[in-house]
Each structure stands twice: as C-alpha cells, then as structure tokens.
C-alpha cells in the first residue's frame, strides 16, 4: 500500500491532483482511493488531500495519519507541521525551481523537486497568477515511482483534460530532480504535544478532528494605519494635528490637547480667535449634519489646558536673530527654542506681537491672551528686544555679522499710500495700531473705509465702537469676492456697518467744508489669476459719498529698505525656497514672503523657516514628511454616526458689542462638541461606544479594547478576512500581505 499526502492551498488543485494520481494508478490496475480533507473551502487556505494505492480493495474510511510520501504544492507550507506522521525514508516532492540539495533540513527523507509552476505557466495551464500544476506534478510522480508515462496519458484522456497537460506532464517527467537519500535524522520532526483529553469514558483516542487554525490561512491581514490624514489636518496652514487634539479633548484631556496643538503652534489661543479656520471648511462631518466647531474647541483647549514646563534643554549655541515679532517671527523663535536655540527677536514697536497686537482689535483678540502666549515663548529662552527698529543697511549688516543666521519676519507693516484727504484720511493699519496703543483718534460722525480685507472690517468695527454714527465700507468688487473672513463680515453687518459694493475711490472733493469721496461705479469681469473676478470701471458713472474720516485699507506692503542688494525680492516680497532666501544665511517667513495674510499661515511659515535654519546650521537635510492620503467622506461608513447639532459658543449682545471692546465671542462651555469629531482615517477606538465596530464584527473575536481610544488585533487568531477594515466607520484600517515563505 502507498499512501500519499498532498499539501497545498485552496484553489491550487490539490484535491484534483489526488484524483489524477488515483486515476493514474487505477489505469495500471491498482485499487485506489482519493479524497480531500475538507474544511472551510477558502482560496489560499492550507488544504490536505490523500491518495491511497493498494493491490487489494481499500476499505479505509479514515484520514491518513501515517503517509508514506508527501507532495508539496506550495513551498511556503514547508515546516515541521507537514511532517506529522510521515514514515521514514519518504519521498517529499516539492514544486519549486530549486535543486533537492537546498532542503538539507529534511535529512532522512528523499527530496524531489520539479518546477511544476513554471512548466504549467509555459504550457498556459491555469492563469498567470494561479497556474494549475497537478498534471505536471503527476508527471514527476510517475517518474519517481516508476510508472509508465502512458498511464498518465490515459488518465489525462479519461479526465478529458486538454492535450497541453500531456506536454506539461512529459516536461515534468523529464526534468524532475530526484535527490539522493541523505543519512541522519530529520531535525524538523514536530514535537507533538499530547492533547488534553476532555473527560471521557473512552480513552486512548487521538484528537482527530479537522484542524481549524484559521490564522494559518491568511495571505493578508489588517492593521490600524497611521498613514491617513483628515481634511482638517491637511487644510491647517499651521500644520496642526487637528484630529489629534480633538480626540484628546473628546477624552476630556485639555492638557493633552494643548500639548498636541503646541507641537506645531505657539499661539493656539490667538489663532483659535482670529484664524479663518479653513479646517472646518472641508470637515467630513458636513455629510452628516454640520462641520465640527474646531476653532472654538481649539480656544477651549488653549484657555483651559495647562501648559507643561516650557523650558527646553538648551544645547545649541549658534546665535540667531529674528527681525519682527509678529506671528511668523514668534512661531520661528518658538520652534527654534524647541530645537534648543536661544534666538533674539528685534521688534520695532514698543510691544511684541506684530499684527496680532497692532492689527487685530481687542474685541477679537484680548491682549491678555496674546501676552500669556508671548510670555510662554519668552520662558522658553527667546529674548525679545522691543523698540529695536532696523532701518539702515548698516544696522542690518551689523546683525548679519554678529549672528549665525538671520530670519526676516517683517510682515507687511505699511499701507498703500493715498495722499488725498489730508488730515481726514488715514491708513487702516495705522488707525488700528493707534487704538491698540490707547491713542485718541477723532473720526467724526461719518467714517468711510475703503477695502475688502480683514483690516477694512476690523477698522469698520473699531470705528463703530468708538461711537461713529455711520460707518460705510466701500469695496470695488462684490461681497462674494471679499477676502475678509466671512463671519467677520456678517458680524460687522449685525453691528451696523453699511456696505457699498462695486465702487472704487476716484478722488476726494470738498464742498462747503464737507469732504466727499467720489466713487467710480465698477462691474465684474472674468476670473483673474488670483482666482477672484476682475473688475472694470463703468464709464462715467460716479457717486459722491460724504465722510468725516476716510480710512484706507486697500492692502499693505513691506517696509525693508535695508535688504536691497542683499536678498532677492520679487513684487515687493522676499523670494524664498523652503524658508531660505537667496542669501544662505538669511531666512524669511510670514507675509513678507507669501502675502497669505493670515496669522495661521504665518505660524506655519515661521515653523518652516525654523526647520530650515536648523538644517542650515546643523548641516542636515530638511525633513520632508511624505504626503499622507486624505480620507474623504465617501471612503467612510458614515451611517454609524447619529446626527447631533453643532455646538456654538455664546456671543456678546449686539448692543454690548457696539459700545465696548470686550471680546465678542465667549467660547464653548464644555468639550462635548469634540465628541462629534469622526476622527477621519485614524482609529480612536470608536470613542464613546462600548465596543469598536471592528471588535464587534470580527468573526474570530481577535480585536479587543486596550484603552478608551485604542483597540488591539491579536494576529494569532486573525484569519485575514478584513471585515474589520470594511466596517471601520472612519477608514482607519489598511491591509498588508503576509508572506511566510519564499513565494505565495
């Protein structure tokens, strides 16, 4: 009697091979039996098949426990387990391109190798990815066991298989490599642990049920990925981990949330109040109800979170000068301090903060919030020299000689000149700064502000708070084209600001001691290179508007006469590449390089300059994080989330807002809003649910909760079905191939 045991994977045709062998011997006049060891019939799962050959009728009704020979369809299955019960001096036929000598570990047996896979590919049997090798293997077996090739020809004809099988079988018959018997004992014999018997009245039984170790089958497995990002994270100009801090807040950990924010930004308290929050614009939660109130949650984290000890261990001695203490300069200094430097900031104004202090009114950003955050930066070892205006080339060259690196964070501090109107006309940027420094400014009863940006709106709302009866904003495009933050425009309207759109200032006239601004009517044209629609004058249509004060807020420019000939500029901005100017020692950040015009962009820009300075000084490469894949709503399972209304912080009443400079927004009362965050693309342990969805659906129960925000996969039990990946509400799982051996 000969008993063959075949080891293969579901889909490889192992059971068919058992049948082909049986037919082959049957054709030779033997009694045969062939069967598979059936379990869940799944592609890729290890399967067993058996062929029994005898001279007498076979009445075996059992699995084969003591095979004489093995046939291995997939070499990745080679291991101690396949040797279970194998009789000594067995043939082990392996489908592989190697020579038998490769398999030294099977001493005591005779290795036979045949490249059946490539033979099958050559004869186009099966598909390229799954060649059907059983007739080629049968050819090899015929050779090894001394069967006449005609037996195989008859078998292939009897099974009505295509003629190419005969060619493949013949090639295998001729090319099979039979190894010499090697002396010694196989080292791989498994140590079979006796099974713990269930208390039973009949003893002496082997555990004989089919093996169901599902983890062995897998060719792939899931994992929680950290390679995907959320729209909020990709949109944040400062590079904040929005998703991360929201998850921390949702767990009720404002300190942790603040620490996450402070990894990228030194000014979360300020940006939460003044940033136009592009993070909210593409929030995936919009597909369910409304976007998350991210900016007010950031404010809550900044206002309530306790800052950890800010002092970094100073370890860098290089001297760095930063010119300008606006958001870009502060951010750059902060990140340099985090790297261990002790930079010095030169600030022209009496107080640090740049536009944060001079350009943004108190009712949007209270002074104490800004001062708290600047004090923190100072504690980290940053020195800020105020009233240190750099005006001349000589001063600048002295700094350049004294410091190892210089960062220009000058901002755009000057308005576009407008000479008409005399004492009744002023620049918005100057107006706002004067008010911030407590100077008295007489506006009269009719203020006209020209411009559509945030300076215009801030000036208008400040004018109202100073008691001006009529405040009008004149803008040459229409509302939709205004660059100012939309919420700010709405708030100014609520407070009583009047808007005149599609009007451009033409000239200032006087009549009877009154001042008038002649406005040229405009109309919208095509979209221009800035993405906004262009405007053109409508012929001979003019209008006069009376003013007591005219405030010009039509844009700002940099004041930097001292850099001429040292760094290259273009269109009034400093040219940079990754924060570095054309002068290797000089770096630049913020509006003076980009004119992006928001505090958050300046913070992100300042960080980039800091990294650039560090890599310049340490002569290292600038870290370039790989772009992450952004998760869109369509890739998520949003039906798991119930709609819940967006929380909105309280505001001062309209009356209060026009009379004082008290902060308009009062902030959120609690962190509940953070629980609405979907944590797109990042596992948060299905925070707020008792079980993770993957945990709930895993058919093998291999996923378990570690903490409120973490789940763990036990890969010993995971069969790689990837149901977890499919059901993940937030698309936070990915799959990877599992390769145990030389090929799959």
């Amino acid at each position: 009697m000969i008993q063959f045991r075949i080891h293969g994977r579901g889909g490889q045709g192992g059971v068919t091979l058992a049948k082909v062998l049986a037919f082959m011997y049957w054709t030779e006049g033997k009694w045969v039996q062939a069967f598979g060891s059936y379990s869940a019939e799944r592609t890729g799962a290890p399967i067993l098949a058996f062929t029994v050959v005898d001279d007498e009728p076979i009445t075996n009704r059992n699995r084969i426990y003591y095979p004489d020979h093995l046939i291995i369809l997939d070499p990745t299955l080679l291991g101690p387990a396949i040797l279970e019960g194998l009789q000594p001096n067995a043939f082990i036929l392996i489908d592989c391109p190697h020579s038998p000598e490769r398999y030294v570990e099977f001493a005591g047996h005779r290795i036979v190798t045949v490249d059946a896979r490539n033979i099958a590919l050559l004869h186009k049997l099966g598909t390229k990815t799954l060649p059907i090798t059983n007739t080629a293997l049968a050819g090899a077996i015929a050779k090894v066991f001394g069967l006449h090739f005609s037996a195989l020809e008859k078998t292939i004809a009897a099974l009505e298989l295509p003629k190419t099988n005969i060619e493949a079988a013949r090639q295998a018959y001729e090319t099979v490599k039979i190894g010499k018997p090697t002396p010694g004992k196989c080292k791989l014999y498994p140590v079979l642990e006796p099974k713990e018997p269930v208390p039973s009245l009949i003893t002496g039984n082997k555990g004989t049920e089919p093996q169901l170790n599902v983890a062995d089958w897998k060719s792939q497995e899931p994992f929680f990925t950290s390679e995907r990002t959320a729209p909020c994270n990709t949109q944040c100009p400062a590079g904040n981990d929005v998703r991360g801090f929201l998850t921390a807040l949702a767990q009720g950990q404002p300190d942790k949330a603040l620490a996450i924010l402070r990894q990228t930004s030194p000014l979360p308290g300020s940006t939460s109040r003044v940033c136009p929050h592009p993070c909210e614009q593409f929030c995936n939660r919009k597909e369910i109800d409304e976007h998350i109130n991210i900016h007010e949650l950031e404010r809550l984290a900044a206002d309530r979170g306790k800052m950890s000890d800010p002092r970094p261990q100073a370890r860098r001695t290089e001297k760095i000068a930063i010119i300008g203490s606006g958001p870009a300069g502060l951010s750059c200094a902060y990140h340099l301090a985090r790297c261990g430097y002790q930079p010095i900031i030169f600030e022209a104004q009496p107080e640090p903060g740049g536009m944060l202090r001079n350009g943004i009114p108190e009712y949007r950003l209270p002074k104490d919030v800004l001062e708290r955050e600047i004090a923190f930066i100072k504690e980290m070892g940053v020195r800020i020299n105020c009233r240190s205006k750099i005006e001349t080339k000589g001063q600048f060259e002295k700094i350049l000689a004294e410091f190892d690196a210089v960062v220009l964070a000058l901002g755009l501090s000057e308005g576009i000149p407008f000479t008409q109107g005399g004492a009744h006309s002023m620049q918005g940027i100057d107006f706002l700064r004067k008010i911030r420094y407590g100077e008295r400014v007489e506006l009269g009863h009719k203020a006209v502000i020209v411009g559509g940006g945030n300076t215009a709106i801030d000036s208008a709302r400040t004018a109202l708070r100073l008691g001006t009866a009529l405040v009008t904003v004149v803008y040459r495009r229409d509302r939709a084209q205004m660059p100012a933050i939309p919420e700010e425009i709405d708030a100014s309207k609520t407070e009583g600001v009047v808007f005149k759109f599609l009007c451009a200032p033409h000239e200032v006239t006087t009549k009877n001691g009154k001042y008038f601004l002649k406005l040229q009517k405009m109309e919208l044209g095509d979209v221009d290179s800035s993405g906004r629609r262009s405007v053109r004058p409508v012929d001979s249509q003019f209008e006069d508007i009376e003013f007591s004060t005219l405030i010009m807020a039509t844009g700002q420019k940099a004041h930097m006469p001292f850099v001429d000939g040292i760094v290259e500029c273009k269109d009034g901005l400093i040219k940079t590449h990754a924060g570095q100017t054309t002068h290797p020692k000089i770096f630049a950040a913020g509006d003076v390089t980009t004119n992006e015009g928001t505090v958050t962009h300046a913070i992100g820009n300042g960080r980039l300059a800091a990294l650039s300075v560090d890599s310049y000084l340490q002569k290292t490469d600038l870290p370039r994080p790989l772009p992450k894949q952004m998760v869109e709503a369509s890739q998520m399972n949003l039906y798991y989330f119930n709609p819940s209304p967006r929380a909105q912080g309280q505001q001062q009443s309209r009356e209060a807002r026009t009379q004082t400079f008290a902060e308009v927004h009062l902030g959120l009362e609690n962190v509940n809003e953070a629980l609405r965050c979907l944590s797109c693309g990042m596992c948060n342990g299905c925070l707020g649910f008792e079980k993770g969805k993957c945990e709930l659906f895993c058919p093998e129960r291999t996923i378990h909760r570690l903490t409120a925000t973490e789940l763990n996969i036990n890969y010993q039990g995971c069969k790689g079905c990837l149901i977890c990946m499919e059901v993940c509400p937030r698309n936070a799982m990915d799959k990877r191939l599992v390769q145990k051996g030389e090929r799959l």
Binding site: Q33, N62, T208, P210
Partner: protein, 397 residues
Amino acid sequence: MIKQLCTANYAGGWTFSICGNANRNARGCGAGIYPITPQTEVVETMVDLYNKGLIKKGRIFHVESEHSALAACIGMSMEGARAFTATSSNGALYMAENIVCSALLRLPIVMQIVNRTLGPEWNIWAEQGESLLFRDWGWIQIYCEDNQEFVDHILMAFYISENHKVLLPSMLCVDAFILSHTLMPVLLPTQEEADQYLPSLDLPHRLKVENPCTVGGLSAPRITASHRYQMEADFANVFPVYREAQDHFEKIFHRRPTDPVSGYCVEDAEVIVVASATVASTVRKAVDKFRAQGKKVGLLKFKMLRPFPTELFLSVVKNADKIAVIDRNFALGAPQKVGGIFCQDIVAALGSVASAKLVQSYILGIGGLDVTGDQIDFVINDIFSRSQPTQSLWGGL
C-alpha cells in the same frame, strides 16, 4: 456495468439520472434540486447529464429552497413521474414538511441524504442527525457503507418503493465526505441495465385528467387513523419486496446486494459489534484483527433502519452474549442515558431477550470526528470485559 473511479456524489448523480430515464416510456422523470454542502456535486452532475441530453423525458427544476425542491418532486411524482432529489443536514430540516408529506401521500420518491452534522454551530462533517430526525414518518431508510452500495441501492430503492405493495419513499444515506467526496472504483449501471432492472412506474393513485380528485384535503380522524395503520401494515411488505429486489438485481448484475442487516463472523461470536454506514468497514478490519488473536467477535452491519428488520436482526445476534452498538448520532436526554438511536431500537427489538444479552451503547464520530481503528479496538476490549451495561460511552472527545 461501467467501471469508473468516482465519488458517491457523482455516482448518485449518474445513477439517479439513469434510473429516471428508465421511466421514459411511461411518465418520465424529474428532480427538484437545491444545493448544499456536501451534496452539491450530486445535483451538479444531474444538471450536467441533463444538459448533455441523457434524460429523454423529464425535467430538473432549479428551485429556491429545499422545501420547494421536494415539493417539485411531490408534484412530479403525483403525476406519475419518477422523482428524486438529494439534500443534507439543515437542508433536510427545511424540507421537513414535505418529507412527511411525501410519505403520507404514498409517493415512491427516492432521496439521497448526505449525512452531515446539524447546526449551528456550522459543521459540514458526517453525523446521522438529520436522517434520524425523519426516522418515524414512513420513509425506508438505508445507510450505505461505500459508494458501490449506494449505487446499488438507488436501483433497489426505486424497485422497492414503486412496488404496489409498498408505495413508500426511500431515503439513502451516505456519510459526508467519507463517501460523498471520496473517489473509489464503482460499477455504475448502464441505461440498458437500468431499463432491464426497473419496470416503468405505474402509480395507482396518480392524478389523471379523466378522474379528477383532491389530494391531501381535510380528513376525518378515523380515515387518518386508517391510513396510518395501512402504512404500518404496508411497511411489513418491504421485507419480501427487498428480497425480490435482491433476486432480480442478482439476475441482471450478477452480484447480490446484502440483506437489510448482515453479519460478519457472527456464527460463533460471543460479542457482536453493531455499526452502520462507513463505520462498518472500520469495524470489519478490527474484527479480522481480533479474530487473528482468537477473540470471538463479529460485526453486524446495520443497513436498513426502517422498516426495522426485527426477525433478521434477532437471527443474526441469536448466539451472541454481548452486543456493542456504535452510533454516529445521539438522542439527548434518552432513558438510562442511552442516546445511541440504533442502540435504542436494538434494545427494543430484543424485547424480552434483552435481559439475557448485554447491550452497550458507544457514541463515536459525532460532529464528523474520525472513527479510527484505535477506537474500535477500545470498544471491543471494553465490551469483552464488561459485566453490566451502562449509559452511552463517548469516544474521541
């Protein structure tokens, strides 16, 4: 006969189709089919042969459930067609209503059951739970030892069931995978042989346009009771018709199918091991081994459970002192905790004789556990040394 290497499922698909086609000169044949592991290859084979034009008069209905599969068979059988189907495990449970209906309507339908463990939990391996669930509702039940026996009994089953003295359906049981998916040499009948063996079906109560009637309508208690009594009376006719079928089979195929129960080394046996289906093969090998050691042990292969061949059984075991009954099934909560169903029947069959013989129940192979030679050895050693019967003894846990 065609000598072929095939699985029980292929053999079933072939033989059912050949037997069905043998009725082509009468009302034809038909099957209602619905696949279930491990029966699927049977219906696949039927469809394949049907598509190749093997069946000259008949139809195969692809239906949406097992319940409908047998319903289609009932309809065709009522019309006088030779009807057959196959199912397994929970599929048979879904068929339940029509399984009972087929017998009560006295329709000679033949059904293959691939014995598979009932779930949940899902288990696709061999156990006799589903066929034994339908033991008591008028079906002839045959448990096959190998693929050849299964093929032979398809022919026999149509012969017996369609006999006017019987007119009861037949259930042919094969162990999942151990037979259903195992390739072994089989002699398959040719069409000519099937035509010779099987007379055309002439169902006396078949529906006819010229004689309209209602079937299965409301019945008074006394009529139902009479019908049931008649069924039991006709069940007794199975034994002589079985012998007739054996004789006829031998004439045409030159082989004789074994009796409903058959002994092996039983004449002088002190101990007889009773086993059904594939376990009988393993026991036979163990008997040879023990006989070689001089131990007087024999095998009783239990093939036909219904109708229970009481006389035949008693004649086989009459000389034995002890009977070990191996069951691949278990009736929960049975008297004396003897849950082996064959064993319960055997104890009942022995009646007053039971007190003189020791009968011990052994439960092996539940849920598809491999019933190994080691286990049979244990059973034989245990029964030899046993002086008192006890509750069912379980093996392989």
